[in-house]
Amino acid sequence: MTKQIYLDHAATTPLDKQVLKKMMPFLQEEFGNPSALYNLGRRSLKAMMEARKIIADILAGTPNEIIFTGGGTESDNLAVLGAARANRATGNHIITTKIEHHAVLHACKQLEKEGFAVTCLKPDKDGIIIAEQVIAAIKPETILITIMYGNNEIGTIEPIAEIGKALLKYNATQRQGKQRVLFHTDACQAAGTLDLNINRLHTDLLTLNGSKIYGPKGVGVLYKKKDVKIQPLIVGGGQEFGLRAGTENVAGIVGLAEALRLAQNDKEKENARLTALREYFLQGLMKKMAKIKLNGHPTQRLPNNLNVSILNVEGEAMLLYLDENGIQAATGSACTSQSLDPSHVLLSIGLPYEMAHGSLRFTMGHGTTKADIDYVLKVLQEIVEKLREISPARLDMGESKKHPKYKK
């Protein structure tokens, strides 16, 4: 088999060996149900309590503010649907952005069907949403603002702490004695690299998951500030403070806590390494190929994310050639989605369709080395040359997306 170079860590990460080791007992002999009264069950409960404490400490919250869920999507759904439905009596307006993950956007769509009104903020060309823009969109009926921390596609980091501070001031001056506007952030992509301290971010709700930080799949966290009311999506046995029923995924929970702890411990060193590697990667691309554009903010971006558009070639075709050479990446082209439209994130930052169709996302990880990047650069250069020869498109950067035949 060809050497495999995995550059799709934003999709999911492999399980860290140390994390697996922590999980193993709870997949085998320590299988007890944490709700049970006997010792076997109490040991599971204790492991879960420890995990809750580890995560609470990293977030600077309290253990009872940590709700375990079935993943990032569920946490986002629980935050958005749960907070909106529980606070309907105080208002029906929600603010979000055009570049959120579908876990948030589709939840907002669902709320619209239930009679809520949703404002979708448009980011600038780098994908940034600024605090002033958020505050200006608040109406008397606004109950919830949900903005992602690090974007999964273009890597842009939103100024969550700035927005949180601005909202704190707004709530203190404009909502005295009334229900404050709640703030949620999806931190799934940011969990391994950015500051998660709630006292600095000032969010009421925060989503995390295991599968992007070398933890297990199928487990997530919703941080919920003590006084925030939300409605559960899954009801039953009353687990997780009655907000998420179902026997707890103890092994997953223990694994998630360990993964988050490891990620946060190593983050300064790993961030510096990945940022340097990303710059090396980008410079290499620019040197080897013409007509390339970086998507997302040049510096205010996740250290491991490189998203580029390569003009006159289509993303899926590049992806399949890369795969044939043992390289795994992603694209925002329509051809890999179920819809006919390319990535909503790329279109929202104003990228023309043909640029979005030619986008590639590389997300590096712990295992990525400079030698890997050199190999990718060599292979990708050959692929682009071949596909550009096959392609009839000869557009220049900034040229009209319309075909000359139809220019009038």
């Binding site: 006159n312 070639v313 289509e314 993303g315 899926e316 075709a317 399949l320 050639y321 044939e324 082209s333 329509a334 051809c335 890999t336 179920q338 006919l340 390319p342 023309p352 369709y353 043909e354 169709h357 030619g358 020869e389 096959i390 392609s391 009839p392 498109a393 557009l395 009209s400 997306k401 319309k402 075909h403 035949k405 139809y406």
Partner: protein, 219 residues
């Protein structure tokens, strides 16, 4: 227990979980008859057809060489901007044209996307819309040849392709609806009811709406 294969989202449950058939793979990784850079000046052609645009996600150009005595297309070249199935289907179409020492123009005009797909060993459902441009590029090239060779009586009317077989609605009708201000599928449907009885046509209808919006309004 049955071990008969089943497919999920284009991937079969047995064998190599590749998204595409081996034939698609072969034509994608080793495309046949595309116009190489060093052939640009030397390839003699009698007709040129171009459809789609990079903005739509697919663009195809077809160059054809005609033997006027036999009324056959004897050679062709192509270029495609698009995904794996778009490239593979144009490559396959070029083989279909060239096999048996060329194809009668009248036969070439009968080639439908379904014929190309069958020769490719099928495509995943969601990729079918990526393989519908090849025959149109070929038809445009044949029309170009008819124009250039003065055979004006043979020129086929542009458009007029039936999109919704139940309602007999053509791409012309959709073009007209967009010109009349319809911007979305819902708005076009409000005018034409197109696709309501033929939901399998919706994808193509949406592509046409976007195509005409771009063509006329640059949206």
């Amino acid at each position: 227990m049955s071990n008969s294969p089943y497919t999920f989202d284009g991937v079969t449950s047995v064998g190599d979980p590749w998204y595409y058939s081996d034939i698609v793979k072969e034509h994608f990784f080793n495309p046949k008859n595309f116009l190489k850079t060093d052939e640009e000046a030397s390839f003699k052609f009698d007709g040129l057809g171009r459809v789609g645009s990079p903005a739509c996600g697919d663009e195809m150009v077809m160059w054809i060489q005609i033997n006027s005595k036999t009324d056959k297309i004897v050679d062709c070249r192509w270029r495609t901007f698009g995904c794996g199935s778009a490239i593979a289907s144009t490559s396959m179409l070029s083989e279909m044209i060239k096999e048996n020492n060329g194809i009668k123009i009248d036969e070439a005009l009968k080639i439908k996307p379904q014929d190309i797909m069958t020769r490719l060993g099928g495509l995943p459902d969601r990729k079918i819309h990526c393989s519908v441009l090849g025959d149109k590029a070929l038809r445009a090239a044949i029309n170009d040849y008819f124009h250039k060779s003065g055979q004006h009586e043979r020129v086929m009317m542009e458009g007029g392709k039936i999109i919704d077989p139940i309602l007999k609605i053509t791409d012309h009708d959709i073009e007209q609806a967009v010109l009349d201000g319809a911007q979305t599928l819902e708005q076009v449907q409000a005018k034409l009811k197109v696709g309501v009885g033929s939901p399998e046509a919706i994808q193509e209808i949406e592509e046409l709406i976007r195509f005409y919006k771009e063509k006329y309004f640059g949206l």
